[in-house]
Symmetry: C3
Subunit: 244 residues, 3 copies
């Protein structure tokens, strides 16, 4: 892909965003895109090739969401971004004159995404790529369930340290104390309190804290909670505190 981009647009600046998305894990990629891409300079084009449906009838789309641009399979990978900020432009990438002359059935990253990205970098108008679309394919991004003294969510992501990141937001935790009266449960594991940093407890301690993306997470200080507890995305997590 870099070879094709640089062949067409030698001056393009190519930045590796991440190589750590588990193979074909669309939900993981969607969360990473949502947390990471808004920090890039306005107008950056993010090329996303987490694409297990390559070569099927899944569409390829160009989208402008907030101040960023995206080129991605329309498989839900942009739907977490689009849940927060509605895309201002969505275009079906359908005109083969901007692709490589021969397109394989299994590597559209090289044969379609890379040449289209290079041409956009050179100034091609996104509208030239194909017809406008009304909306993107979406995935289920259900929110945590907030009640009096109790929030029920789920683990959404294992980060590269093995921390278990949930869908419970700091806003949802506004009424929750941070002291030892709070209990956080996940699978058969339980911990008291919500801390500020990993360094607030000794090594090997299971702790809950609000991480850098504003989500409640479980961590084992100095270790991988995912490996030590064997917990996977989708596992329910519950926060309880006494109300009175």
């Amino acid at each position: 892909m870099k070879g094709v981009i640089l062949s067409l647009a030698p001056e393009a600046r190519v930045v590796d965003l991440t190589h750590a998305v588990p193979a074909q894990d669309i939900r993981h990629a969607a969360i990473v895109l949502d947390e990471v891409t808004p920090w890039f300079p306005p107008g950056t084009l993010h090329v996303v090739v987490v694409d297990p449906g390559v070569g099927s009838d899944r569409r390829i789309v160009y989208a402008r969401i907030g101040h960023q641009q995206y080129l991605a399979p329309d498989n839900g990978v942009l739907s977490r971004l689009a849940r927060r900020v509605s895309p201002s432009t969505i275009i079906h990438v359908a005109r083969p004159e901007y692709w490589l002359p021969v397109v394989s059935a299994t590597f559209h990253g090289r044969d379609i995404f890379a040449p289209v990205a290079a041409r956009l970098a050179l100034g091609l108008k996104p509208e030239a790529l194909g017809e406008r679309l009304a909306e993107l394919v979406t995935l289920d991004w259900s929110e945590a369930d907030v009640a009096r003294g109790k929030i029920e969510g789920k683990i959404e992501l294992i980060d590269s340290f093995g921390n278990l990141v949930s869908n419970i937001t700091s806003e949802q935790l506004a009424d929750c104390p941070r002291n030892e009266l709070v209990t956080v449960e996940c699978d058969e594991h339980e911990t008291q309190g919500i801390f500020r940093t990993y360094a607030d407890q000794p090594e090997m301690t299971l702790i809950a804290l609000v991480g850098s993306s504003g989500k409640l997470e479980l961590a084992i200080v100095g270790e991988s909670a995912a490996i030590m507890l064997g917990i996977r995305p989708g596992t329910p997590i519950t926060v309880r505190w006494p109300v009175g």
Copy 2:
């Protein structure tokens, strides 16, 4: 290596090609180079440091193959490229005046390859590096055996998704039907049909398809075939279909 290159040639553009070649796997690297490097801009210099023989009497070579340039140990890592397109220039990298002043026995990447690459980027003529050579060291790249109604090849590469890529080419499959009359066998496993994309079958299905490099491969949809089947490079693979 990047530090040495940028110290000598601050304007050089350095692109990471891959960090995913298994340690010291010359055959794997040779296949990746053959499939990936022709997509780069003409004149790109590819620096290859898959070099288990570092410090021994293996030579270091500069080669021009097609429109690309290479700097590599002469251990066969360029021989797959050279099988398709004969190198127009091969030079023995032997003159120490272009190396770092002190050369270690175990990290020629930093001490020889990086400074030579930087100097070539700055305009040094390859002929200055040493004497011309007539040919490169080669490895065995035997082709699949094509008969009437039967092709016998072998698995050559496990890709980063765990797909099993063979040495059977789409050209060799020209007479083979793609429907359920075709049987593909590998180790004790068997599947019918040759599909177009991974998405053509449900998750967890073993399928055969022609991948983006034009080779027949075996994949398990949504999973790693290499891990699930325990198959390694070198394993025989056979395609059969009824004739007459």
Copy 3:
């Protein structure tokens, strides 16, 4: 982090030094920095975010050591560099006007290190970041114990090939013969001789050699010694030879 840097300093040249430091392993990172960063162009700013104490009262520091600049948590990660070359400048990174407006408790890489690095790249004087400090936090970098006919050290690092790199230097080995009279012991394993390169012995052989960083290391030719022998950093290693 790259997004924040490029948003503030679009012309900055960002180079990935390594993604292979084991999570939160300060000693490993300290050794890598010591071996790798002096090879970069003078004035390069190395941003180091191996930071298990993020959000605690550990300081963040800017340091000039030799011809290189560093931005790092003051957790000992620079102390191996500083053992060889005394830092000429150490500054406490304490003035929030150069950080992002909102700073999380768990990702100072994005919120403090990246914007400070970008501003330094744009010409901000390091002195503007905060007060001068007299010294850095240090770790125990005890040297190997050299006696007549015997050196006792320890394994300090597992490299990416699984080689076991010790703290015994080539200078300390000056009086040691390299032939089969030398015995190197580590854990319950033993090998004779000190070789020049990995290629000096057949595959699967345990060998000792002096690696590219000038340290004695144990390797298994063509394999990972760390995995095959199960040896971890901190394990004692002894070199013996007959004297007199």
